[in-house]
Amino acid sequence: MFESLGDRLQGVFDSLRGRGRLTEVEVKAALREVRVALLEADVNLEVARDFTKRVQEKAIGSDTLMSLQPDQRVIAIVHDELVELLGGKAAQPNLKNEANVWMLLGLQGAGKTTTAGKLAYKYKSQGRRPLLIAADTQRPAAREQLRVLGRQIGVPVLEVEDGETPERTKARLGEYLRANYRDLVIVDTAGRLQIDEALMDAVADLKEALGPNETMLVIDAMTGQQSLPVAQAFDARVGISGLIMTKLDGDARGGAALSAKHVTGKPIYFAGMSEKIDGLEPFHPDRVAGRILGMGDVLTLIEKAKVLEGDDEDGPASLKDFTLQDMLTQMRKIKRMGSFTDILKMVPGASKMMPPGTEIDEGEIGRIEAIISSMTDKERRQPKLLNASRRKRIAAGSGTSVQDVNRLMKNYEQMKKLMKQFGRRPPRNLPGGRGLGR
């Protein structure tokens, strides 16, 4: 998501790296680059300028320049400031035991309706009883969209009728809640421009009537310089308590997140990470700052791996006996953590190693799986058995070609060699490890 910004900044810092000491002029030059990088990432002008000024003050004002590794210190300062700019600690919306009302606001096409569905799904799976209110009477079929979403996730939808007053909506909601127990009401409103006085008044009235305990502004991650005035206007006219960034799974550099956060001072609760109904993730400022700087996102990776823990099938008896079956098991495990491309992005340094625009063919993994699955147990344990006729059979069985099978076998041999090398090196804290008996 933030890769391009990360690459830019990385380049700036690489030029600083390894210097014994930095002059003030060098730091200033580097920070100018940082500012251009931020602007290219759609960070608002004012915010970018503010940011570099703060970093500069900290970097030059302290004894940073004289320290042992000044470049590392500068990077640390930029990292901390980024975290600060993105909102410090991760924050979640305020959720009471019952009678929660959350309202979603935003420009047209920011993704309010989809986000409403995702929120309802998320909290339903946590044991809440959500109710969706379709208050978008502007766009044709918007209410129908929410109705369909509600049906898919099994959440009831209360539809606001054309020309209904906020008081009437409130009364209808009260009526509904008296008959049905619901502890989280999510209100999807019509998209509106921040300068559209009439519509801004209308949504402010609706907020007044419903009295939500959270009012969230939904912002498209691809938004440019406008993110700042938009966030400002919504906060001033309606009042918001938090932000949700959508479409962060594209290659948008996400500067809008920084700007909106900066101008409103409100936390970013969630980030929309896919089109699917479960694609809404909590926003972690520190992790994202690390990702921007190319430091990887090990925490998220660990979290994902943790979910898979406890279902460990028998691993290879030893690294030396790495069989095709083991390869398949490992692969399936990794696959369950998400797409390969996503995982690689979280590994520190990996984003730098991959040329820009690299795409890993996720289908390749499926093919490998198919090929190994088409082998007999015996073949998986003793790959030497695979002669030409067996390979032909496997290719036919897995819907691939003999070349694909050959390629897989070559990769497997390489991996096995690698494993052997690892096995030979004695694990340091394990006296008598099998590596000793070489």
Partner: protein
């Protein structure tokens, strides 16, 4: 923040401009070059293009042209997708003849873009635009992914009296496009607009699906679609260029439609798109009503860009 105040002052002058007599422009309005650069970046043109415009305007200014005119010239220069015409413009030809009708090559227009830019709404407006000009139009509700997107286009089709070909939600968009292309040919209608589901340009599989929809249309109606229009939201920042590039690579974009220019967004990202990809802008959407979709005119756009009222913060 002295620079910021200066910028605001400069923009204040932009506002005053609206009430100033056109002939006084040269004298009434002048801005620091640095401030101009910031203002352009603030309009999402990107740092590189902003610097180019400032350099070009400076050159023009030194020749004694008024500030406003220099700036207009520099902007128009950037907005000319055709290199030949750009040269002609530089030597002084005025090429901005207002066109009455945006001509569509061929009969089928595929409409593509990322999520939430307003593809379906734009198609409805395009339908009205061409219907009013005597063309017989048809819609294909090819967004079978988003819940109720098909219904949204059907509602519009009903209102405008435009036949709409659709399939059930979640069905193959290629099948809908194929049926529609067939139907258009069989009924001999003038134009078919094919809606597609919004997709992020980074999703490999979804872009492949888009390529397939295009291939399938060709199968039903050889040589079509002759036009593929990319819909772009005016609030989009620098990511807009990446969007345009990826869609262009995948399906060969022939024109761009910019929506939501009715806010304070200026759609400055158009400049690098026109500059780098040499794609023409076809329409701009300046409001919610159907007649708010207007044929794009570079000169008018530049004037609007310079005169648009500013919010205090920008």
């Amino acid at each position: 923040m002295a620079w910021f105040d200066r910028l605001r002052q400069g923009l204040g002058k932009t506002r005053d401009l609206l009430t100033t007599d056109v002939r006084d422009l040269g004298r009434a309005w002048e801005m620091e070059w640095d401030d101009l650069e910031f203002a352009l970046i603030g309009a999402d043109t990107g740092a590189k293009i902003a610097a180019e415009i400032v350099a070009e305007a400076k050159r023009e200014r030194e020749r004694g042209t008024s500030f406003r005119e220099s700036l207009e010239k520099a902007l128009l220069d950037q907005l000319e997708p055709n290199r030949m015409r750009q040269k002609l413009r530089r030597v002084g030809f005025n090429l901005d003849v207002s066109r009455n009708l945006v001509e569509v090559k061929g009969k089928v227009v595929m409409v593509v873009g990322v999520n939430g830019v307003g593809k379906t709404t734009t198609i409805a407006k395009l339908g009205q635009y061409y219907t009013e000009r005597g063309q017989r139009v048809m819609f294909a509700a090819g967004d079978t992914f988003r819940a109720a997107a098909t219904a949204q286009l059907e509602v519009w089709g009903g209102r405008l009296g435009i036949p709409t070909v659709s399939g059930p939600d979640g069905s193959d968009p290629g099948a809908v496009a194929f049926d529609a292309a067939h139907a258009r040919r069989a009924r001999g209608l003038d134009l078919l607009f094919v809606d597609t589901a919004g997709r992020l340009h980074t999703k490999h599989n979804l872009m492949e699906e888009l390529k397939k929809v295009k291939r399938v249309i060709t199968k039903a109606d050889p040589d079509e679609p002759r036009e593929v229009w990319l819909v772009l939201d005016a609030v989009t920042g620098q990511n807009g260029l990446a969007q345009a590039k990826k869609f262009h690579e995948a399906v060969g974009v022939t024109g761009v439609v910019v929506t939501k220019l009715d806010g304070t967004a200026k759609g400055g990202i158009l400049l690098p798109i026109v500059r780098e990809l040499e794609l023409p802008i076809k329409f701009i959407g300046v409001g919610e009503k159907a007649e708010d979709l207007q044929p794009y005119d570079a000169a008018a756009y530049v004037r609007a860009l310079l005169d648009m009222p500013e919010t205090a913060a920008a």
